[in-house]
Structure formats: C-alpha cells, structure tokens
Symmetry: C2
Subunit: 202 residues, 2 copies
C-alpha cells in the first residue's frame, strides 16, 4: 500500500494528519504538482482527474479524494474514531466535515487558484471570483468562531475529521492573507488546541 | 423526525431519493427558498448557513448537508447499503461521491448561480466564473461517459449515493442548457437506468 502525496499541498496533508491520528504508517511517494507530474499519463491512469492524494492498494486498486481515503481507513481500522460511532455522531461529524470542506477549504482553494493564477497553465483564473471565494471563507471563519464559543471541537467534544479539514484550510489560508482575527478568540483557542496535536506535524 | 425540504431544488432531492431507495418514510416540511424563508431567524437557528435540507430529530437535534443526512440514515438503517460495506467499497463509493459532488453537482450549481443571477439578492454573481463552472461540468460528463463504458454504475456494479448525486446534477444541469451529448452513449445508458428507478420520482 502507498499514497501518492505532495508534502506542500493542503489536501494531501488532511490524509497524513488523519493517518497520524490513527497511528497508521503508510509509504508516501512524492509527486511534483508544480511541474505537472500529477498530469502525466501514468498518474492519470491512477486518477483521471490528475489530483493527489491517491491511495494505491497492493492489488493495484486506487482510491482518490482525501475524504474517500479517510473513509477507507476508518472502515479498515475504526479506532480511534474520526468519523463518529452512533448515527447522530456520524451525522453531526459529516455535517461539519461538509461545511468545513465546502464553505472553507474549497473557498480558500478557489481564492488561491483564481487570485494568484498559480495554475494558470491548466485553468482559467477569474480574479473577481477569487475575491468572492476569499470573502466566503472569512464569513465561515466568523460563523466558526461563534460556534466554537460553546463547542470544544467542530462536531462537539470529540476531535474529528471536520477539525482536520478546517485546521488545514486555516493554515493554508495564510497564502491568501486570510488569518484568524484578533477578536476571534474561540477560533484561536480551537486552532491552538489542534495545532498542539502531534498529527499537526504529519 | 422531519426534514425541511424544497421540492424544486436539486440538493434536497438527493436526500429524498436516498430515503426512497431505503424505503424510509419521513415527514417533509416545505421551505420557500425563493422568498428567502430559509434565511429566517427560525431556520438559521436550525442551520446557521441558511440552507436546506435540514433533518430535525424528535429531541431537536438538527443535521444539515445532504451527504451528512444520508450518512445518518445509512448508520441508522444500513440496508440496502448505498455507502458501501467493505473498506474498499466504502472508499470507492466515497471517491465517486466526492467526484460527482465537487466536479459535477457543485459546478452545475455554480454555473446556475453565477450565470443566471437567480440569488443575486444574497450573493455577488460572477458570470465569467459561471461560464467556467459550466465548462468544468461538461468536462466531467465526458470523463463519466468514458468511465461508464466499463462500469454499470459510478462505483462499480452496485447502485450507490454517487449515482444519486450525479443523476440529480445531470437533471438540474438542463436549466443551464448542459445536456448529455448524443455521442455519450454510456452516460445515456446509465442515466436511463437510474431514471427508471422508482426513487427518481421521489
């Protein structure tokens, strides 16, 4: 089993952090996305969308999309649970995971891609949309700060995949100059707690 | 238990179809998103993001985000399984669910919102981005057609949540004039098979 990874990119970091929380060691193979190694025919045979991370099993089966890779490992080794146990836990963690993914992680990513033109060789950046995406991300951080005033982690008292998604998004947001504001004390308290975990170094 | 629903919108349709496949009956409460009923203080107390669908349990717990509601019901009543059973099934279904969500469903939604200005009272449409999103959706339909040449459903031989997400996206795509092309015979074969299921009327 191996994972095609890019150490500097925010999406594969989510998987590394998830696996570190579970204490699962996997071989990582570095892919240079700046030079477009992820778009080679060999890599497209593993993931036609040309993205990392990709999990490759020993029988050649490949699974892409960071959330999907996490679902695979949660099913393979349930403890410690990062996707919940009871139906309500599973539902609430999935809710916060989706919110963190769609309204924060993706917005930061779109802000980065459309504002900076970093991947302009392989997409058409629309700077005006990049700006909107950045505003959306900031709005979600505001909502998150209010929520974290009465919740230890995103989905309650239990650390989960939703925290990994939001934490890696907040860290990456620095590249587009989106930061936790000085009055967002609950968000900062949560960030510091997640950042203190060993998995944050994975 | 009840679900706050909007009969005409594509996202809540995913949950109705999922529950129809499982044979689960739930009370649906209609919310008028055109007049902004979803943005009222009462609805924002249930989902601060002001979106439907929302599942409300008898103890008042609310779960939003269609995928999260599906995860809740899969845990509550596993059969028939729409999110997979073995780790590999779960991983591959989640992979196709994420792809259908991010590269098709969301792209169609962004194309609609940014091209038509339908929600311009509550967001800033960027028509140039709407066009890009439409191109992204069409690219994914092309990829899906090639994939379905050798796969009955998105994640293999088994109907899953990924088919529901892609099917509801293809149906909604008509409003932005994105349709299955006449040479996309595999995609059309799949669409017809899903459309023939009773759950497609839910």
């Amino acid at each position: 089993m191996k994972i095609y990874d890019t150490k500097t990119a925010p999406t594969p970091r989510r998987v590394r952090m998830f696996l570190a929380e579970k204490g699962i060691d996997v071989e990582y193979v570095q892919v240079d996305i700046v030079s477009g190694e992820n778009l080679s025919p060999e890599m497209r045979a593993k993931n036609p969308l040309g993205k990392v991370p990709i999990l490759e099993l020993d029988d050649g089966t490949t699974i892409s999309e960071s959330t999907a890779i996490c679902h695979y490992f949660e099913a393979l080794q349930p403890e410690p649970r990062l996707l919940g146990n009871t139906p309500v836990e599973i539902g609430l963690i999935s809710q916060w995971q989706q919110r963190a993914e769609l309204y924060l992680f993706m917005q930061v990513g779109m802000c980065f891609q459309h504002s900076t033109g970093y991947f302009k060789d392989r997409m058409n950046p629309v700077p005006e949309y990049g700006k909107e995406a950045g505003i959306n991300a900031q709005k979600f951080l505001h909502l998150l700060d209010k929520h974290l005033a009465h919740s230890t982690y995103l989905a309650g008292e239990q650390f989960s995949i939703a925290d990994i998604t939001a934490f890696t998004a907040v860290d990456f947001a620095r590249v587009v100059k989106i930061r936790i504001q000085s009055d967002q004390v609950h968000l900062q308290r949560w960030y510091d707690a997640v950042n203190a975990r060993e998995s944050a170094r994975a």
